[in-house]
Symmetry: C2
Subunit: 150 residues, 2 copies
């Protein structure tokens, strides 16, 4: 099975398959004499695993852990659960931040006439001369926010 077929079969682009291999997320697969990658059904299984984890918003780093647990017969389900609940927590936090933005924006938009006049409370708010910076928030792991492969 070529990389293109593997891509079609798993929903992971060839580009990403190579990338996952390059960063050690996927094991190096067998090559033909000419250097073409060859995928076994086992490899396809791993790729689908990765895709599903990405779809659930797991960062690559977490997927590395998930894969290790998957292949580790002496794992404990508590390890799986902790990776998962940690991720849920990160998602929830991010959702809360975004909901707070939405609330503010809606409040502002509600009071904006949306007509031909230039006055606009949204602008007034952004242009307020004295507001303090938002409280510093933890730098969020990007993986959490981009589970969506176009």
């Amino acid at each position: 099975m070529n990389i293109g077929e593997a891509a079609k079969a798993t929903g992971v682009s060839a580009k990403m398959i190579r990338y996952y291999e390059s960063i050690g997320l996927m094991p190096k697969v067998v090559r033909t004499g000419a250097g073409y990658r060859v995928y076994s059904s086992n490899d396809l299984h791993t790729l689908r695993f990765i895709r599903r984890a990405r779809d659930l918003g797991f960062a690559i780093e977490s997927i590395t852990r998930l894969l290790r647990l998957w292949q580790n017969r002496s794992r404990s389900s508590s390890q799986m659960k902790s990776v998962t609940t940690e991720h849920i927590g990160a998602l929830r936090q991010r959702i809360a931040e975004m909901e707070s933005m939405v609330r503010t924006l809606e409040h502002l938009a509600k009071h904006c006439h949306g007509d031909l006049r230039p006055e606009c409370p949204i602008l007034d708010d952004l242009a307020k001369p004295d507001t303090k910076a938002a409280p510093a928030k933890a730098r969020s792991r990007p993986g959490v926010f981009r589970a969506v492969r176009a």
Copy 2:
């Protein structure tokens, strides 16, 4: 006012101030003979505007539009409102996606014992042999998800 003072006064890091200038979001400010940037209270006002817009999750591209409207006396509030509602829509969509992830993850985690045994429904789900790819979603503008400056 030096860039460092401007940074303290506005909550935008010096690095970002230079960056905003380099991409044309901020106008080029006056320089001293030695090349130091000098910030007027007008410039500070603009920087605070930018920071607040970032805190609300607007992408740089949208902030460019917001700034133009701010400085355009013949703007209409409907233009402001449309930039805003568009942004609200993007946030809402992303929130919905993440909530869907959370729902799935919680469902899986709920059925995971979290003990010393290796069986885990989370793993079972990720390792399912036949699931289809998630429906293709619109590539999301990164700006929407990272309003949080550390």
